[in-house]
Symmetry: D2
Subunit: 366 residues, 4 copies
Amino acid sequence: MKNTFGSSVCVTVFGESHGRAIGAVIDGLCPGITVDIEKINGALAKRRPSSNIDTSRREKDEFEILSGVFNGKTTGTPICIVIPNGDTKSADYEKTRFLARPSHADYTSFCKYHGYEDYRGGGHFSGRITAAIVAAGAIISSALDNIGVKIGTHILKCASVSDREFCNVDGDLEILKGKTFPVLSDCEKAMEDEIIKAKSDLDSVGGILQTAITGVPAGVGEPWFDSVESILSHALFSVGGIKGIEFGKGFALSGMRGSQANDAFCMKDGKVTTVTNNNGGILGGITNGMPIIFNCAVKPTPSIAKEQDTVDFSANENAKINIQGRHDPAIIRRACPVVESVTAIAICDMIAERYGTDVFLNGDKI
Amino acid sequence: MKNTFGSSVCVTVFGESHGRAIGAVIDGLCPGITVDIEKINGALAKRRPSSNIDTSRREKDEFEILSGVFNGKTTGTPICIVIPNGDTKSADYEKTRFLARPSHADYTSFCKYHGYEDYRGGGHFSGRITAAIVAAGAIISSALDNIGVKIGTHILKCASVSDREFCNVDGDLEILKGKTFPVLSDCEKAMEDEIIKAKSDLDSVGGILQTAITGVPAGVGEPWFDSVESILSHALFSVGGIKGIEFGKGFALSGMRGSQANDAFCMKDGKVTTVTNNNGGILGGITNGMPIIFNCAVKPTPSIAKEQDTVDFSANENAKINIQGRHDPAIIRRACPVVESVTAIAICDMIAERYGTDVFLNGDKI
Amino acid sequence: MKNTFGSSVCVTVFGESHGRAIGAVIDGLCPGITVDIEKINGALAKRRPSSNIDTSRREKDEFEILSGVFNGKTTGTPICIVIPNGDTKSADYEKTRFLARPSHADYTSFCKYHGYEDYRGGGHFSGRITAAIVAAGAIISSALDNIGVKIGTHILKCASVSDREFCNVDGDLEILKGKTFPVLSDCEKAMEDEIIKAKSDLDSVGGILQTAITGVPAGVGEPWFDSVESILSHALFSVGGIKGIEFGKGFALSGMRGSQANDAFCMKDGKVTTVTNNNGGILGGITNGMPIIFNCAVKPTPSIAKEQDTVDFSANENAKINIQGRHDPAIIRRACPVVESVTAIAICDMIAERYGTDVFLNGDKI
Amino acid sequence: MKNTFGSSVCVTVFGESHGRAIGAVIDGLCPGITVDIEKINGALAKRRPSSNIDTSRREKDEFEILSGVFNGKTTGTPICIVIPNGDTKSADYEKTRFLARPSHADYTSFCKYHGYEDYRGGGHFSGRITAAIVAAGAIISSALDNIGVKIGTHILKCASVSDREFCNVDGDLEILKGKTFPVLSDCEKAMEDEIIKAKSDLDSVGGILQTAITGVPAGVGEPWFDSVESILSHALFSVGGIKGIEFGKGFALSGMRGSQANDAFCMKDGKVTTVTNNNGGILGGITNGMPIIFNCAVKPTPSIAKEQDTVDFSANENAKINIQGRHDPAIIRRACPVVESVTAIAICDMIAERYGTDVFLNGDKI
């Protein structure tokens, strides 16, 4: 399936920004996992626009679980979650039907779907779909909790303002818990200032997200084609706006010498560990038991209020576009729970592939 | 399958560095594609170690095609290519059986395969396997030729020396043709000097590869989970040593404002194009008809001659390792045909998914 | 995915008999296919219990399409159809929670899902799920219409009463159109009598369904593992109660000699055809352009009113069961639209694999 | 992949009847499984033509394992087995290049591969490929041995002569062990007489094979689309000549009443079992712990010495064909190890899906 991720534990997304509803189907998740409605609501709240640095579209995200949950626990059969769309202003999009918004998918989806696509609000390409991914990720994260896997994402960089990198990962994940503007150092205000400044300039900003995963045992992943980097990047690059991914020291490694880049091994508390973690917890595509660390580059929101040059792809002629709609001057904050959810989905699948579906129920097996 | 890439056109790799042979099975490639033995040999020659900046292991790479080719053309049934291993010195590896070479897969493969892995020369994790990928890529590239898709990779950076970026992509791809040290500007000597210097320091260097693909029509790729970025990165991150991938301006985009980052559309020769190509030819995960551009960060070769700290993972105790074996002080040059081949495999699959398998035979369909 | 069928055009089902809703996601179907609400309603009506030979559970099957359809046509993105459950009497199942209904999935689903399964009314194993399959099949059949593929199923045998076999397939498919009790000869009354007799004996009957597909071009299918027989049987054997499938003359072929069984070729109206069609339109796993013909053996409905021996799998002791609930003395009639839908799903996928997704939009390509 | 079967443990086949070699790649099989060369040779010997009731083509089947085995055990990485072709008489096929042998794949492969197919000896469609499947099945069966799963196939019917059905399955599997003409009762001579009689009439015969699998725990399989019947039939229908499959009582069930067909449950030695096994060990698509039983209908060998009507599909005109080549008057005996191997491959995959790949190494987990 095209809109599905995973082999053992799979998530399929459906829906359009201005259609009746969006949603997801989770299949292959083991039975007996507690489905915590508050946790799902909490994850959706983190993704929801809430302040003046976000879009003014306000969705309640009142989801409904149609299947796969019985007496508060997963049954092991497909879970379908539906989130109805409410606050849609489709008229905004009618007048610009054939004007390609720069750096958006309007033109490419027209080429792919021959004009039958639901173009309103980005349709199936809309960031709105990520609400379904966040809901699915929240359910799946309860399975990961059962075996002690933890995931956290912070804003490493927003415009020109930087947060510090992960250092003590376990402690840092605790710091991030529950934060709606997830940073490790005292940089929230500076980042928000940059976003507000861009907004007042009718412009937008991007940033870099850094994610850590702990608790994944050594030996997960495959040597060729299904390396941990392959599976994670496959999942993450489907999130609109992500244009780069690096694991461990990533691009910085390319400028190091082997003697600097190599992670020496050492015994620690009777366990094989590495002194540094430049490889981000992955060697030869397989986890080595160290925290998995990666960075995602997020481009600035394409929708800006400034007038832009474009084409009318129906008339095949040059045109100007003034994007109306309602948009975020930065999606970097709202992208955090999305990246966390996509990561949860991908890691859950890899662990299920390695140890069998029921590992999350019988967490003591690993 | 774990060691398989692709949905419509698939490539499976098998083999170990010091086993009887390595090889690949290509399945789903359309019938009637000319299999050009010289082209395969040429691609293998580009990958082969040849000078003092490469490993001293010398393999002839005399491949044999066991199936799927008849009268010089593909039949449409699986093509099995086998490349026997010759120049192996397994004894080098016996004494370090349980010493984890830093930044190598020795420890992770031990965790995954419980000690049953063929540890000699990296076994199935060895870069040796990429010879099979290059051979497969060379066959597949003939299918891409039929529909006018071209792929080229150059060394954008080696240690601290930079090549210029792609600018006139069609012309630049011509420049790269046939080069065994593929760079666009006059930087080969400086790069080699850096490599030789690292070697004499018993060390190694990394670098960045830049790849361009032209001729892919707009409308290829999928919105969620199977974006062009997802599929390409999935394939590329299985190449050992690649630790970062960015599309278009990638990480640099994260520091731009929307008004700088957005690619304005314009009509050119009656065709929709973009003025800039910061998004690397991909919008919303779908090709927009512009050249697809991406960079891969390659870490320095992990095998260095310097003594390193490590562990004996059989005895679970600290140890020192002095890597003997035969290794490259830089794999960046030899990685070019590998990245090109992996890219060919992934793009061929995406095009077959979009237009049906026979599109390469009837190139006029697109 | 486990609950998904297909590679290019995929259908995922979700839901439990007594849960909030059942439904399906169709992914990969090409854009521009007309979604005919009346056609979906018509197919659901054929599957719906309606008379005294069916269960007394009465569902309205008022479906809702949540995504993937815009202005009455498919968009090319995932279509989610939801059918809420209404007429559920869950209390019927509480008292027999741990009594394994003979020939039902109660015990096997308990083993698979460790007791977390929704056991009410068969849960996810219920024939109720087939309503979602029928709705999906109805949408997909419009794509098949576009390229002239037709599918029809009739009751070849019910208990001891036989219908005639397909002879003039095109004409026979016309005869079946719109019939809610699909037979080719005058045998409806005799079949219904058998069913009513079984019901009055507190028992049930089975039968054989025969299906024909016309309009599939020669050359569809794969030699090994994805033969047309493989793909069709894979899809069909997921329908509860089907325990045998034969293509063409099937089991009867095993008693023939080669000279009787072989289908001689001959030219007819300038086209290669076969004189007989003992192979059911498939040679070497690939279509030969003749009608595809197969029979499905349907076992008698497991739910019967007679008392039966069983076990309590919670207490691990022998027990008696008296099935209350509401059941069909024969599902053979209602199975017809289900088999037709599953067939449509599988054939659509195979054709899309062969010719690319858009073939249904541009029907003239084949 | 098209020529691949399996999700967790996968087998890919390649090769053509008169090409350089045929072979298989097994991927996903767990490390540490003993690779027993004698066992593989034994399985190949059972499949090999040996007497006057078989083809006169004599292949030595001297296979070579190129990868994935180290120190006599599987490594967990892909195993490539190659069997060179030797005794080929390609000239036999040149003169009939465009004459469609009735009930063979000549015409359908021409339609699929546009004339680029290797037509000699049936090419990739040849029964010759089953040697690779048998070799792969033999390796996989050692994994199944580790967890106590046993598989056996006997000739239930050959032409008009019947063997008895399985009754005491464990004992019956012992009887079949090592038999090259696998029957349970004293009917070998009568079956061979029928075959010889057909041969002397320039004709061929078919038959029915019955297979039993023991030792599979209850709870394997999936409710929708990946039922045990679905997976097994998918695999089995790729074997040329199989045109019907029934599970348990199969087609006979369709004529029974529910009260006859239902398998009453009962406790036996503290274990849930069924009194009868009409459902062949599968309920709702999931194993119930009873032996899995199924029958395959094998059509008579299409190649017969009698002259037959056909067409020249190059000239599009009627023609006569006199098949020369070398053929079996019955493949039913040689089909037994092929069906056993395909069954082993499919069951191994389903068990790995359920319990994780390593279950075969740590057999005590189930």
